[in-house]
């Protein structure tokens, strides 16, 4: 199926371009991706968790960027495989500056197969649009944060090469708690009957968070 559209980011083109090449930002854009690991030049891998209402699918995702023409456009290949089906998509992204904002036009060709596609056929198109909208809003939030961060720095051009620190903690906090909660739930499920689970989960969450805090300081 074809998915095409346009989205306006609240930031200048070079900021948006940098973010679109940054794997940590791409991890935010791709739904439910906690982290993308680099496995080659401009090639990344990670777990994608796609959730639309009650339906949830976990996919092993590979992202590859090609035909990179800074600061203008690139082609993104996404390959996701999971128990619920597979997704293969190729999209061309193009950035056009518009005053201090950036208009991104995207044109993608996607194939969805497996159980998701056969059982959920009527929803594939709407779900794709909903997921893309979620991702773009997440990316726009990151762009706005980066622009705000750059505006408060005394020296110009200081942070172009890395994602700026103010953005990171905001992203990490919810995921640490979520991660701790997931760990806790899995451990508790294996160990205990339901009525004691809640207490054990709470204790484990606190322990994991303390551990993370210790490791980080």
């Amino acid at each position: 199926m074809k998915v095409a559209g346009e989205y306006t980011f609240d930031g200048p083109r070079d900021v948006v371009w940098e973010m679109l090449l940054d794997p940590d930002v791409l991890a935010r854009v791709l739904p439910g991706a906690e982290k993308l690991e680099q496995v080659g030049e401009n090639e990344y891998e990670g777990q994608l968790k796609i959730k639309v209402g009650p339906v949830q699918g976990d996919f092993q995702g590979k992202v590859r960027l090609e035909d990179i023409m800074p600061p203008d456009s690139y082609t993104m290949h996404v390959d996701g495989k999971g128990a619920a089906g597979f997704v293969k998509a190729t999209g061309r992204l193009k950035l056009t500056p518009q005053d201090d904002r950036t208009v991104m036009t995207y044109d993608a060709d996607a194939q969805v197969g497996g159980r998701l596609a056969s059982v959920g056929q009527r929803l594939v198109d709407s779900a794709a649009r909903a997921i893309i909208a979620q991702s773009l809003e997440g990316l726009n939030a990151a762009v706005k944060a980066e622009v705000a961060a750059q505006a408060t720095l005394p020296t110009a051009g200081a942070t172009r090469s890395e994602p700026s620190p103010p953005v990171e903690p905001e992203y990490r906090k919810p995921s640490q708690t979520q991660f701790a909660a997931t760990v806790a739930k899995e451990v508790a499920k294996d160990l205990l009957p339901p009525n004691l689970r809640r207490a054990l989960i709470a204790i484990i969450i606190v322990m994991v968070l303390v551990l993370i805090w210790i490791l980080m300081t």
Partner: protein
């Protein structure tokens, strides 16, 4: 396939159900009729950690008039709505919809509350309730709140209900003088989801439309009102040309996705035709004509 494993709870009261939802925090799904949820679980597309079965809660299944409103309990089966004389006499769109929701077997179990809470744009009640300007009553740990239907459908499968809220009642305003409604649905075969469907709720003053609400089924990711079509009708004398203009407006403002039921152009055109039929039928009922 069979569902993955889950915890099962069967609370006896609404408060118990809400307490469970609050404790499970999004990991629990409410089980009412189960005819949207269980198939998804069977295909392992949905894997809630826990099911909260509300079928055992007494006092959630009723259809009656209260304070100038038709109030319907959340666990009222579609078959009960289909059999209700009260609905049949005054709520044309609701009566029409109750006959075309899925098939009789599903209607014996499926509930009005579930049909709305699932927030599937292909379900029939969302458009009908949007056309009625209904209200949804939700009970949460903090108490009860009333959600106007225009604010209820937020996204694809996403309603305004919080993860710890239970939909307990739907309230539909009683029709006034000269007001009637109709629901027209086109489906490929009995029991199918709509290719497109239109719910129209119109108030006539002579042959002029004084008020109208129109909503569409399965031609947008979120159940929608056809506001452009409404604008083409309200305050005007209704004749073939106004109906045609309203139909074209609805066709243009909807946002169908192509699938096995049809292409975008086909679904738009069916919407145009169904709008004309639904409005004509509603007007006939409003002016005391055919049912």
């Amino acid at each position: 396939m069979i569902p993955g494993s889950f915890d099962y709870h069967s609370p006896a009261t609404v408060d118990d159900a809400v307490a469970l939802l609050d404790r499970l925090g999004g990991e629990g799904k409410v089980l009412a009729g189960g005819h949207s949820l269980v198939p998804a679980m069977r295909f392992r597309l949905a894997s809630p950690a826990a099911l909260i079965d509300i079928n055992g809660i007494a006092g959630l299944s009723y259809i009656r008039v209260q304070n100038d409103q038709l109030v319907i309990g959340a666990v009222t089966r579609e078959a009960e709505v289909e059999r209700s004389q009260l609905v049949h006499q005054k709520f044309g769109a609701l009566a029409d919809a109750s006959r075309v929701i899925a098939d009789p077997l599903v209607r014996n179990r499926g509930t009005v509350g579930g049909n709305l809470a699932h927030a599937d744009p292909a379900n029939d009640h969302p458009a009908v309730m949007l056309a009625y300007g209904a209200e949804v009553v939700a009970k949460g740990p903090g108490g009860t709140r009333v959600i106007p239907i225009d604010e209820f459908f937020v996204g694809l499968f996403e309603s305004a209900l919080a993860a710890n809220e239970l939909l307990v009642e739907v309230r539909v305003p009683l029709p006034g003088a000269g007001q009637a409604s109709a629901y027209q649905k086109l489906e490929r075969k009995v029991g199918d989801y709509a290719i497109s469907a239109v719910a129209a709720n119109i108030t006539m003053a002579g042959d002029v439309c004084s008020a109208v609400r129109i909503a569409l089924t399965n031609v947008s990711p979120v159940p929608m009102r056809a506001r452009q079509a409404e604008g083409a009708l309200v305050g005007r004398r209704i004749d073939e040309s106004t109906l045609e203009a309203a139909g074209r407006a609805a066709a243009a403002e909807c946002d169908p996705s192509p699938d096995l039921r049809g292409s975008i152009e086909y679904k738009r055109d069916i919407t145009r035709v169904l709008l004309g039929r639904a409005v004509r039928r509603a007007i006939a009922r409003a002016t005391g004509g055919a049912a």
